[in-house]
């Protein structure tokens, strides 16, 4: 078999080389980012010996101390949120519960059906992460498969002849509920509807996730192109009942707060 003699210009011959080099460079930058994130967290929230922490840093490797420290951080964050006078989310991962609080009063409690937590956050012994979580986390961006406010626009009739009474809302209207909260502190929380009520729910969830991956990758690419190490975002992926997912998303304000216990 003879290979067809396809004319390749010199420029075209270099494309794969450049593409390969870029992919390698992108990969290196992306692999550096988690390490940088951990280092910056340690710098900002790491253990410091002071009047309150009179003991040396060996205490931050003690499991009893860390367990109490985590509990205190969560309570502290919830109390800080209670001062904010708006709807907030408390995620208690060891208890698998997601609570909606207003001024310290839990108004809705949800059992988490399943979760996946990134390695950084799974490291329950990390002092720096726990210190970071002693303050409420703030929602920066949200991506969702449902609108936060299901607005219906209606033009006012000019006179009584144009007036039509309102149609009863279609409660059977079905939309799978998946949403993502990007927090200012770099953590990303994914909420997925647990039930598969429709044969295409799985597929719609996949495309929702894919869409978000595109958004993230585009952001990373832009950073890499300007020689900036992209930000690594630890994640929490949560599955919960559809109705509760809808309640959480619709109740939380755009710049709402989140308290997290790992």
């Amino acid at each position: 078999m003879t290979i067809p003699d396809v004319p390749i210009s010199d420029r075209k011959r270099y494309i794969p080389v450049f593409a390969g080099a870029f992919l390698l460079y992108y990969m290196i930058m992306m692999l550096i980012s988690p390490v940088r994130t951990i280092n910056s967290l340690d710098r900002e929230y790491g253990f410091r010996q002071n009047e309150k922490n009179i003991i040396n840093d060996s205490i931050v490797t003690d499991s009893t101390y860390l367990s109490l420290y985590r509990e205190r951080a969560f309570l502290q964050a919830r109390i800080d949120m209670a001062a904010s006078d708006s709807l907030c989310l408390s995620l208690n991962l060891p208890d698998s519960s997601a609570n909606l609080d207003i001024v310290g009063v839990t108004v809705n409690s949800t059992k988490i059906s399943g979760m996946k937590v990134s390695k950084i956050l799974k490291d329950r012994q990390s002092y720096a992460i726990t210190s970071m979580l002693s303050k409420p986390l703030t929602i920066e961006n949200a991506f969702s498969s449902i609108p936060r406010e299901p607005l219906m626009i209606k033009m006012a009739p000019r006179d009584t002849s144009e007036y039509k009474p309102d149609i009863i809302p279609d409660t059977a209207d079905y939309e799978p509920v998946n949403f993502i909260l990007e927090l200012k502190e770099g953590i990303v929380i994914y909420f997925y509807q647990d039930e598969r009520l429709n044969p295409f729910d799985g597929l719609r969830c996949f495309f929702f996730d894919l869409g978000y991956r595109f958004v993230r990758t585009w952001r990373d690419l832009k950073n890499v192109v300007i020689l900036k190490v992209p930000e690594y975002n630890p994640y929490i992926k949560i599955r919960l009942p559809r109705e509760d997912a809808k309640i959480l998303y619709r109740a939380l304000p755009e710049k709402g707060q989140v308290a997290l216990l790992r």
């Binding site: 078999m1 003991i55 309570l75 607005l151 809302p169």
Partner: protein, 236 residues
């Protein structure tokens, strides 16, 4: 002659195979690149993270008085914070309204005493040609009962006329007042928002109101007599 040669070359099996395979190859490369960017790189990122921090249970450390002081300090903090947090949930009666599912929960002494359907804002945005607009939604957050009324009457706002294509009357015109449409009781949340009864009971459990919270007669009566002026209402 030359054209014929070119045509023959175009139809050679290798050329044909190449022409068919080329788009498939391009598609395969594109998909591989996408998988690389969207899935492989994030996967490799997680691999770079080291395992969990090692914890110790050193007896020497545990015997250190400074350590014990730290632990006691933490325990005391937790106790203080827990009791402080617990105080946020009032022992007084309060009402919780879920606007997503149109449900209400009435609490007294931190216990649920009644729950049921209600109706909340329809999320309708009413617009006029003149550029005026109203959004009919129930506000979310913490509210206080500011007033309680029996046999309330409804003073129809401008939008109630505009919505039906009627001319807007003067502020105190008799056509603004309707009696018996709000049920037997009303509790005011401020800014014109009320918890009241309804003549449209078949719509309970649906988002159909102009922002107020509607309840059926029995539930409204229970809420009216359980909550006092100053009681809290939490809407989410």
């Amino acid at each position: 002659m030359e054209n014929e040669k070119l045509n023959n070359e175009d139809l050679s099996p290798v050329r044909v195979r190449y022409k068919i395979l080329r788009p498939a190859l391009i598609a395969a490369i594109a998909i591989s690149v996408l998988i690389f960017f969207l899935y492989l790189v994030p996967f490799f990122q997680t691999l770079t993270l080291s395992g969990t921090t090692k914890t110790i249970n050193s007896f020497t450390l545990k015997k250190d008085p400074a350590y014990r002081r730290q632990i006691n300090l933490l325990k005391r903090d937790i106790q203080l914070l827990s009791s402080r947090y617990g105080r946020y949930t009032s022992g007084q009666a309060y009402l919780v309204i879920n606007t997503t599912d149109n449900l209400f929960y009435l609490y007294r002494n931190r216990k649920l005493v009644r729950e049921g359907h209600c109706s909340t804002g329809s999320f309708k945005l009413l617009k006029t040609e003149e550029g005026r607009s109203w959004i009919f939604k129930t506000p979310k957050g913490k509210f206080t009962i500011l007033g309680k009324t029996t046999n309330p009457s409804w003073k129809k706002p401008d939008w109630a006329f505009i919505e039906e294509g009627l001319p807007v009357p003067s502020a105190d015109h008799h056509s603004r007042f309707e009696y018996g449409v709000l049920g037997e009781y009303a509790l005011s949340l401020g800014d014109g928002y009320l918890i009241h009864g309804t003549i449209y009971k078949r719509f309970l459990g649906m988002p159909v109101t102009h922002g107020c919270v509607r309840m059926n007669d029995e539930d409204l009566e229970a809420v009216f007599y359980t909550l006092n002026i100053g009681s809290k209402v939490y809407i989410f």
